[in-house]
Symmetry: C2
Subunit: 338 residues, 2 copies
DNA sequence: CTGAAAGCGCTTACAG
DNA sequence: CTGAAAGCGCTTACAG
């Protein structure tokens, strides 16, 4: 634990025999900066020998820039969001940024804002925890800080980075229709989540367009327990659907467990398809057919869009062009006696 | 997106009618600093009215302090580590710190180090990705940066924050012994992980101490696929064990799926107990009995220990005193014909 | 093409 | 008890 202080810019300047301003110029070198080639090389050599790295705080203080991004997520334990987060972080690193993470449990929001934004620690924020009417929006709306909404979009903000939710819902319906189903159910998340609303609506529209009756719809929180309640209600329904579309991993996991408990055989008695994919779906009681969304691409693009804003470009809504993919597993088949 | 600049210390000083140095004094107020009460109040009032927050960069530059911690983890997608990470982050926030996250995929390590440590962005590092002989250790050892090793410890470093691994292995064995088992198998992780080695060894010792033959041991990476290979080997063994202890969630998941595929009934033909707990274990084909480790406490304590180091205290090894807990599910029972 | 100076927003001895 | 000054390590007009 020696305390050898890290080299400063003066140190490389001295070693190269130039003034610190010159050293700064070549190191931050806009290529057109008029510095003699020989001088330039001396400075680079000195920096390399000293393993010089500019102090981020000093540079930041001078340039009003931190090369740090904030990432506000609802829960790190959601594997789908974790995929997004790691892609976002990786992309940020590529572009020279570092990312600080804040879990937005709805309580810490205000303090996170103070600590990160008001203290000037970040250049921009990836908000992946917005719900309609949620508390973040109050902060974010009046902030003069570049930000984007990721996945959980904020309709009308003009800063949304979203995926093809409607296509996801449509593809789920088409998959089940193609298998011959005509009676559908769906479990959606709370109405405050616009992305969910869009895919659920598309599922419904596609079913209706095929001439089948509207899917019966149940609302559940994004928890296994809540989905389990919805599943019980579905199993108890008079006109039991032959196929169900659920809106989250947690829904699928709760649904399968409840079906097994209730003695409902999947897919023989009921087919199940899940929005969001995860390797874990291979290992639940019945491997669940799913819709894989391009989460990594979402994270990368959102980060790029945020940095564009930081660089002065106007914010805009972005939809990831990549289509969802159906990952067929064992939970979907033709209806019996269909 | 207005660009109203945030209030600076001068702004509150001016509004309070004092010099900025006085304002600084009361705001950072060591309570014993000699400032008139009335002055003190004026400054606090002005700060409150302006919603003043000190600029972190400026303060950091002056004090050589960032109130930022780095967290190096192997994969954000590991739910057990995610629990640790969120607890660590939460504790850091409580103590006035912010945490930047870096996934240590073994490639980015060096760049992460440059970006975070050499550029002076962090005051300390939580290293949760160390393996024996791994590349981090080279950086960390010669660094003059406070750091602790979390869970994946670095024996001999004197900076380890670890859990009661030996008790975990012992309790797993005792659970199975109490059910009447005498023929054991175990799947461990790669030898580079000391914590795993400790619990696996304790499992073995406990079995031996009970007078039973040594468990047959298989090594697997921390992936479902690798565990699946080990499971196949176990199922094919001449003297098939009646009970198996596996060292990770991914092991359990791969094991159960492979057993189902091979037609091995759990727990009737073979009992299974898993180190690490997760709600997901309720939802795999057969709910898996597990050993729950105090991950949140680990994260909190590690963060506290790191900040102690930053505050100048000498580093030391810490063992979380909390005992593991057995979470009984369906995968363990008495051996048939035992 | 290169150097000298000012200043980013703070904190902290040092005077008074 | 409070103010004036220096300085943390950079970058960036401004001179020369």
């Amino acid at each position: 634990m020696s305390t050898k202080p890290p080299p400063r810019l003066v140190d490389v300047a001295t070693r190269a025999g130039v003034h610190v301003s010159t050293a700064s110029r070549v190191l931050n070198g806009s290529v057109d900066s008029k510095v003699r080639d020989e001088t330039r090389q001396r400075v680079h050599a000195a920096a390399a020998e000293l393993k010089y790295r500019p102090n981020a705080l000093a540079r930041g203080l001078k340039t009003s820039t931190t090369t740090t991004l904030g990432l506000l997520v609802r829960s790190l334990s959601n594997p789908v969001m974790a995929d997004m987060a790691r892609a976002a972080a990786a992309r940020a690193w590529e572009l020279g940024y570092v990312v600080v993470i804040a879990e937005d449990d709805g309580v810490i929001t205000e303090r996170a804002w103070e600590r990160l934004v008001d203290e000037g620690r970040i250049d921009g924020m990836l908000v992946a925890s917005a719900s309609i009417g949620g508390p973040i929006l109050d902060f974010v709306d009046q902030a003069s800080l570049p930000h984007v909404f990721v996945d959980h979009v904020h309709p009308g903000s003009g800063r949304n980075v979203a995926m093809r939710e409607a296509d996801a819902g449509r593809m789920a319906a088409e998959h089940l229709l193609a298998l011959g189903h005509h009676h559908f159910g769906q479990i959606t998340g709370p109405p405050a989540f616009d992305s969910d609303r869009r895919r659920s609506e598309a599922f419904r529209e596609t079913v209706l367009a095929a001439g089948d009756p509207a899917p019966v719809r149940w609302v559940a929180d994004y928890t296994e327990a809540s989905a389990s309640e919805a599943a019980k209600a579905i199993f108890a329904a008079k006109h039991r659907p032959t196929a169900v579309f659920v809106s989250a991993l947690s829904h699928a996991i709760g649904f399968v467990a409840t079906a097994q408990h209730a003695g409902i055989r999947i897919p023989d008695e009921m087919s199940l398809i899940c929005y969001d994919d995860d390797p874990l779906l291979d290992y639940v009681g019945v491997p669940v057919t799913s819709i894989r969304m391009p989460m990594a691409e979402l994270g990368r693009v959102a980060t790029g869009a945020l940095i564009d804003q930081i660089d002065g470009k106007a914010p805009r809504d972005i939809e990831i062009p990549t289509l969802p993919i159906i990952v067929p597993r064992s939970s979907t088949t033709a209806p019996t006696g269909g």
